[in-house]
Symmetry: C2
Subunit: 221 residues, 2 copies
DNA sequence: GAGCGCTTTTGATCTAGCTCAACTCCAAGC
DNA sequence: GCTTGGAGTTGAGCTAGATCAAAAGCGCTC
């Protein structure tokens, strides 16, 4: 049940959890299988999570099933706290995902007795807000190829510019993140491949190599 | 220069500023004319603002001029603080707008010596994040008519369900908020009028009456 | 290692919303 | 009053991206 699907190379933002939770980490670990729900929209926020390995998506649904993914959470990322007392969206596992869990109450109590705590909590929420602001610009005003280019650069940055970028999520997930259909995402990727900005690596279509980050960044506008 | 364009009926969220700034309000007032910039993206955040009357839009631009408006700020709203040290977007006046200004530094100093301060600052940023999350769903997954219906209901709610809803912003502003063109906004409004969900009031097209909020809410999905 | 199901790609067609353009309606200035 | 200009509406046609469909590729399980 706990077999790792990815090796984790000490992500850049790993300090977050320690800064908030403190050093003698009082938390348990848990592994969610692919597609399992971590928490649902409207549920009370009891726990806070940090990803050890895998990937989580958080999203909102319209009544007819249309889905908008807010964000993907990767190893090192903290999530479930930005919410306030009640979760404002659903979170589930994109692939098998191992998380560290601590109770929200425990974490907030700790924060109250720590000067830096309040500040780092505010920093966390502010960072989320900043991401959301950038994403609104993308959703409202970018073309499909610009969206996909921006997505690739975001994943590349968050994985510290690896030689091979591995995407844990499906084309449908990417589409629901970018406000497109899965076919349009696929076509945009093919366009970028044909224009020599990336190539697929190995058999799977989820490993790819960015061949020209500069050109991608220009597309991102 | 200071003539009011709207009467203000003590907005619901007016407590914000007082809660953060304190009672003996140390701040000056200023009036911006229609179209004037309050602050620009990338500028250092020196001041924090609360709207007395009028309306402010905050937005980001792509290099070729495409614009995405994050939010409209109406009387009572606080803005310019959520940013952190540097403004992440531009703010300018939709119409002639009177604001109360206080220095960011002054406000943050005050907050540090106040238990409730940190919490209410966090609450403010969290509220902004929540708005952004809802707006991402709108931008990524709603149709033009759904977007316009949602916009009208938002304005209606924020003005406390007035008999006549007055929109300070142009069709182009609404379009740039909803990720549409101004023509599409105009057509959507005409559709809603034809379907008896609203009617225009008086001469101007910026005063309207919501005839069936329930039906609008259904559209909002 | 054959078969099945899921994911992805690619093609063909459709359509919501964009673009371009004309016209109306005010409001402001002379 | 007349003129000018910005704002809004409406129409006609276009296009980016959606939808529908088929096939290919991969990773399961047995």
């Amino acid at each position: 049940m706990l077999s790792m699907t990815r090796t984790v190379s000490r992500p850049a933002n790993d300090g977050q959890f320690a800064a908030l939770v403190g050093e003698q980490v009082c938390c348990s670990e848990f592994t969610y299988r692919r597609g399992t729900e971590v928490f649902g929209e409207g549920e009370e926020a009891e726990y806070v999570y940090q990803i050890v390995s895998g990937a989580i998506r958080t999203y909102k649904l319209l009544c007819d099933g249309r889905r908008q993914i807010n964000s993907f959470h990767l190893p090192g990322d903290l999530f479930g706290l930005e919410n306030g007392a009640v979760h404002r969206f659903t979170a589930d596992a994109v692939i098998q995902t191992k998380v560290r869990i601590t109770s929200r109450r425990h974490l907030l109590d700790r924060i109250e007795h720590q000067e830096a705590g309040q500040a780092s909590l505010l920093t966390l929420v502010t960072r989320n807000l900043q991401h959301a602001e950038n994403h609104m610009l993308l959703l409202g005003r970018k073309t499909s190829v610009e969206k996909v280019a921006a997505f690739l650069l975001e994943m590349d940055r968050r994985q510290d510019h690896p030689d091979v970028l591995s995407l844990p999520m499906s084309r449908r997930d990417i589409a629901d993140y970018l406000g497109l259909t899965l076919e349009t995402v696929s076509r945009a990727l093919s366009t970028l491949r044909d224009d020599r900005m990336l190539r697929f690596d190995g058999q799977t279509q989820r490993q790819l190599v960015l061949l020209d980050r500069q050109k991608l960044a220009q597309l991102d506008a």
